[in-house]
Amino acid sequence: MDTGDMGGVGEGSVLGRRDELVEELCRAHEPQLLVYLTRMLGRVDVAREVIQDTYERIHKLYRPEDVMFPRAMLYKIATNFALMRLRRARLESKIITGSQGMEKVPDEAAPPDKRAMAEEINERLVQTIKELRPNLRTVLVMAHVQGIARKDIAEQLGISLKRVDKRMTKALRTLRERMESFGIDLLRVD
């Protein structure tokens, strides 16, 4: 295992470090997560509850050494809780059939080559983004790597907001197709 320092460190401090990492992860993303969930659910109070559920889940199950993409994991769990709430609210009477397989939080020891797989996913992703048509790539990189608001993207590129959205949709669709063709299952990435 990669936790070679376990022997020398007391159990307490290992736990402490983990809690710290959990805290850090949650705090760093909370404002954005709240906006995201509020847009999705339409209500701030429900969004807050979902965040609470998410944090509890993460506190219980998060093992930093097993999770290569903490942000992706955080959003996945939050999205799942939000979807569950929506489903519950909409289909009170109907029986919820089959989980969507979206709630897999690592519950057993991760395969030892996890780090290598993460590296490969990142490499494939960057390569695929680089191969996008410049129009599509520019919009995607500005929005998600540089964090530029969509109105500013439209302005700097001299295109309409609608066009920004169109390019973004196209870029995401292309990326997803490519990732699928590499055999990367986005639902199981963590």
Partner: protein, 354 residues
């Protein structure tokens, strides 16, 4: 169980579009109803989950990899119309393309994006704020009434701050320092986030959020002051002739609250707050009564800067001040002699958040 039960392309597209809508812009109540109805189908929910993870992966790329993406050239709107045509799989021959291009350039030079592409100069109007990406992938947030110009050659990265205030988030490149020229001074750094404010009276305020920068006076020889190094949460103010405030500690995130459309008022004199607010409006705010200054009014908290009437209303509510709208200016007087009509509550939320 590699989810190879293929999703129809239309579903993937819809998932991408909804992901987009969730990430930016407002979602109207009607749209949300549509969205929730769309989610009823479990395949749709799955597609949305996939897209979310995809976006997260991009946002979470390690800095080393993200930097290679940032450094790639932007597909600039050299010719917006042409770009639009190219968006579709339409074949334009080189010649018609070129001819079209010339025509379009002439017609579109009036368009900000095209003009900026040619001049490499980016500006904001009074009250406006925007974010731009420079050639090297560095991001610049421009505050009100500001202008930067990219003056780098292929070999060095150089930006002139010609007017106003800008917050720079410099793209990492160890081989090429990033330089901001402000009048006769130079601010140099490697990978940093820092704010430069060129005040209308000629003095310059530099605030560092992360990393480290060096500031040098290039005016005379010997320079008026020796090179200074700034670390995170440090600030300096200087004029062409001298240091006004040598390196001191500040709460840097607070001093760049303008990025969120807010002005921090705590610890500032009332006159300073008013003069800051005046940067964001062409309709000037005047303190008519000298007693206002003498009163040493202290405000607290943050004011919205993109809705000046709302900010003034908030001041009127919290301080012994009456705001009168004179049509071409706002006049502030003491509440004691408040016989004139006061500013009425604006419809928007008084905190002025956008």
């Amino acid at each position: 169980m590699t989810a190879q039960n293929k999703l129809p392309p239309a579903v993937v597209d819809e998932a991408a579009a909804w992901t987009n809508a969730l990430d930016n812009g407002e979602m109207s109540e009607d749209q949300r109803v549509d969205f929730h109805a769309w989610l009823d189908d479990p395949r749709h929910a799955r597609a949305l989950g996939e897209m979310r993870t995809l976006v997260s992966l991009i946002q979470e790329l390690p800095e080393r990899k993200a930097a290679t993406l940032r450094r790639m050239p932007l597909a600039h709107a050299r010719f917006p119309l042409l770009g639009r045509l190219m968006d579709r799989p339409l074949q334009l021959t080189a010649i018609t393309g070129a001819a079209l291009a010339i025509l379009i350039v002439a017609a579109w030079l009036n368009v900000r994006a095209v003009r900026e592409y040619f001049t490499q100069s980016y500006s904001t109007e009074t009250g406006e704020a925007r974010t731009i990406v420079l050639k090297d992938g560095s991001v610049v947030h421009l505050n009100t009434k500001s202008r930067v110009r990219w003056t780098g050659t292929g070999k060095d990265r150089r930006v002139a701050l010609e007017l106003g205030e800008a917050l720079f988030a410099v793209s990492h490149d160890a081989t090429q320092p990033f330089r901001v020229m402000v009048g006769n001074s130079e601010i140099r750094d490697l990978a940093t986030e820092f704010d430069v404010y060129r005040k209308s009276n000629g003095s310059v305020v530099v605030t560092v959020l992360s990393g480290q920068v060096a500031i040098k006076d290039l005016g005379g020889s010997p320079p008026a002051w020796a090179e200074r190094q700034l670390k995170p949460n440090e600030q300096i103010e200087y004029s062409p002739a001298s240091l006004i405030a040598d390196v001191h500690t500040v709460d840097a995130p607070k001093s760049v609250h303008w990025r969120e459309g807010l002005l921090e008022t705590a610890g500032q004199s009332f006159a300073a707050v008013v003069s800051e607010l005046n940067r964001y409006t062409n309709k000037q705010i005047l303190i008519a009564d000298p007693r206002v200054d003498a009163k040493q009014i202290k405000l607290g908290g943050a004011l919205g800067i993109h809705d000046i009437p709302a900010a003034l209303y908030l001041i009127q509510e919290t301080a012994p001040i009456v705001v009168t709208d004179n049509g071409d200016s706002y006049v502030l007087s003491l509440k004691a002699d408040a016989s004139r009509e006061q500013l009425t509550a604006p419809q928007q939320n008084a905190a002025g958040r956008p």
